[in-house]
Amino acid sequence: MSNAAPVITAWSLHLPGIDLSPALTERFGLSADLAGQPAVPAERAAEVLGRKGMLYKEPATRLALCAVHRAFAVPAGKRPGFAPSPGTAVVVASNLGNVEAVARVTRTVQAEGGSAVSVLDAPNASSNIIASTIALWFGFGAANLMVCSGTGAGFDGLELSLLLLRAGRADRVVLVGAEPDDPVATELYAGSGRLRAGAACLVLEQPAAGERRLSVQLSDGPGLPDLTVGPGGDFDPARQWGEFYGAQDVIALALAAELAVAGQHGTVGVRSTGRPRQAVLSPGGGP
């Protein structure tokens, strides 16, 4: 167990159909290809991930895989080919990732009976499909958590990621947020807002190695850095682009990391979309 602040060693955004300029490029000095944007939509995920293994992968799973693929800088179209990593945990925040699959199976049973259901859809009936697929795809064998706690799920995911590191359950945590915008998810969310499809990934580690050191700490106090991302902050992805629901806070965190390092804005704060919580990302962190 360690008391030093964990560090973010890599991050990515995968936000299909979203033009990051001029909102970010002009105002915050980020380059137009920020964190690997532009991103392909879920149906073109094979361009990033390669063609094998895409069958029966739900849109949120594809977007999540794309985000992790980008965070680890795997070449486009290639499988990662990583050695198994029993010390790497996966934490995913998503609320609507498998509702389309659940609806599809329900309609098929109703219309044609259970024999018409594909067994290949079986993993999608379980809500943890995104987290377990990331583990399988990249060989991450430590704790695997699927956080489905609604608005603010991403921040819950951050807190659990930090807990896994503090408790010595992992030496590296891959935190992912992902939501789809399929018709079922969109209609279910319509009463709350306009749902956008997107994913983001942060890689958190104990402060030992890691070239791009960016410490992350939870903050209780009222004082946040001059630049903040999230509700009421200097840049609110939800107001600018639409709502990513369970993925929202992870997207804000990845964006904050980009602002802090690539944008050279120094310390950047992140506010959760759920209950009031905040995090502070500081370049040059760690021991």
């Binding site: 167990m1 029993p86 945990a89 996966v90 609320n95 609507l96 498998n98 509702v99 699959a101 659940v102 609806a103 199976v105 329900t106 098929t108 049973v109 109703q110 009976g113 259970g114 024999s115 259901v117 067994v119 859809d121 079986a122 993993p123 009936a125 379980s126 809500s127 943890n128 499909i129 987290a131 377990s132 697929t133 583990a135 399988l136 990249f138 991450f140 064998g141 430590a142 704790a143 695997n144 958590l145 699927m146 956080v147 489905c148 706690s149 609604g150 819950d156 807190e159 659990l160 807990l163 503090r166 408790a167 010595g168 359950r169 079922v184 279910l188 969310y189 319509a190 709350s192 629901y245």
Partner: protein, 373 residues
């Protein structure tokens, strides 16, 4: 410093924890004709429905969970106000049956009702964090692991680790799709097992630090976690074994010390073989000779609640010095050779270290070690 269990409450097809344990000792099965969805269309004829509840009642998982939360908090004498109390809810299927009802014509609902945050805050006013962790059939084991971490790191005064799951049509359809013949009864670790059936269930345990001055049911040595990263649905002996070894390493205990296993035992071809092999490798290989019991022949597979249902049974074994038999076990599977499964009659045993297993879809594994307080 190990964490303590101050209280435990469960709901199964038999009712509460005492009723469930009594039924297990009698070798009873709670299996009944399926009353969720259309059994003919689903190709699933039987299930284990929560005692006293309408299986089609909307948001039933949350109702069962609320009952457990109130019972566990009351049992522990825990008042969350003014304390740092967190609630971690493990679930496999959340309230996804609401999505299915909506698809079949009922009005749309707030997606925030898919998780258990609002419900928990109403049931236990004053709690701080409430997080729903959707980790398939080992979800509540994961909640228990994280609860212990929070308590041991001094980040919470108490944590309620919970589980809640009721049936969904989509998961029933998958069970019906893969079973060669419809299963009539779960037969864990049986040579002629025919597959799994679902059971409604919920659970809540109160995890507290060693400084706790209230009632204590048992001591949590550790929970080990792992992910197979091997196959989307099929279990992996190596992945399962890693979660067991993780538990022993975290607890600083030796596998040879285990004298009782409350196994996952789902009655499926793959789980029971892989679990038996892992138990032989990790426990028997270290010189242990534990009794092995399991509940799913009696309760069905309570999915996200299963780990804490097992834990409640383990606590009662510790308290009473008697281990219930595995309902539905007739002839032990070949892979279980050398393991002492409890079958037919209860066994007298005052266990000192109990291992509780839970494994889930996607290769998510949680293994808990528990001992007397």
């Amino acid at each position: 410093m190990p964490a303590l269990i101050a209280a435990s409450a469960i709901r199964t097809c038999f009712g509460n924890g005492a009723a469930t344990f009594d039924a297990l000792l009698r070798g009873a099965s709670g299996v009944v004709p399926l009353r969720h969805g259309d059994p003919a269309r689903l190709h699933v004829s039987y299930g284990y429905h929560a005692e006293g509840s309408d299986p089609e009642r909307p948001f039933l998982a949350g109702e069962l969970l609320a009952d457990c939360l109130s019972e566990a908090a009351g049992q522990a004498g825990l008042d969350p106000s003014g304390k740092r109390v967190a609630v971690l809810v493990g679930t496999g299927l959340r309230e996804l049956s609401a999505v299915e009802r909506w698809v079949l014509g009922e009005p749309v609902f707030d997606p925030e009702r898919l998780h258990f945050g609002d419900l928990v805050r109403r049931a236990l006013p004053g709690v701080r964090e409430v997080v729903t962790i959707s980790n398939a059939c080992s979800a509540s084991g994961h909640a228990l692991a994280l609860a212990q971490d929070l308590v041991e790191l001094g980040e919470a005064d108490a944590v309620l680790a919970c589980g809640a799951d009721t049936m969904t049509r989509s998961m029933l359809a998958m069970i019906g799709r893969v079973a060669p013949v419809p299963t009539e009864q779960v037969h864990p670790f049986d040579a002629d097992r025919t597959g799994v059936l679902l059971g409604d269930g919920a659970a809540a345990v109160v995890v507290v630090p060693a400084s706790w001055s209230g009632p204590v049911l048992g001591r949590l040595a550790a929970t080990g976690l792992s992910c197979d990263a091997h196959h989307e649905t099929a279990p992996d002996v190596e992945g399962i074994s890693r979660s067991m070894r993780d538990a022993f390493a975290r607890a600083g205990r030796n596998p040879a010390e285990v004298d009782l296993v409350v196994a996952h035992g789902t009655g499926t071809a793959l789980n029971d073989a892989a679990e038996s092999e892992a138990l032989r490798k990790v426990l028997l290989g270290a010189g242990a000779d534990p009794l092995v019991t399991g509940v799913k022949g009696a309760t069905g597979h309570t999915s996200g609640s299963a780990s804490l249902v097992n834990l409640d049974v383990a606590l009662r074994c510790l308290a009473g010095g008697v281990v219930p038999p595995i309902t539905g076990l007739r002839t032990v599977l070949a892979e279980g050779d050398g393991l002492r499964f409890v079958a037919g009659e209860p066994a007298a045993l005052q266990p000192e270290l109990v291992q509780v297993n839970a494994f889930g879809f996607g290769g998510v594994n949680a293994v808990t070690l528990l001992e007397a307080a």
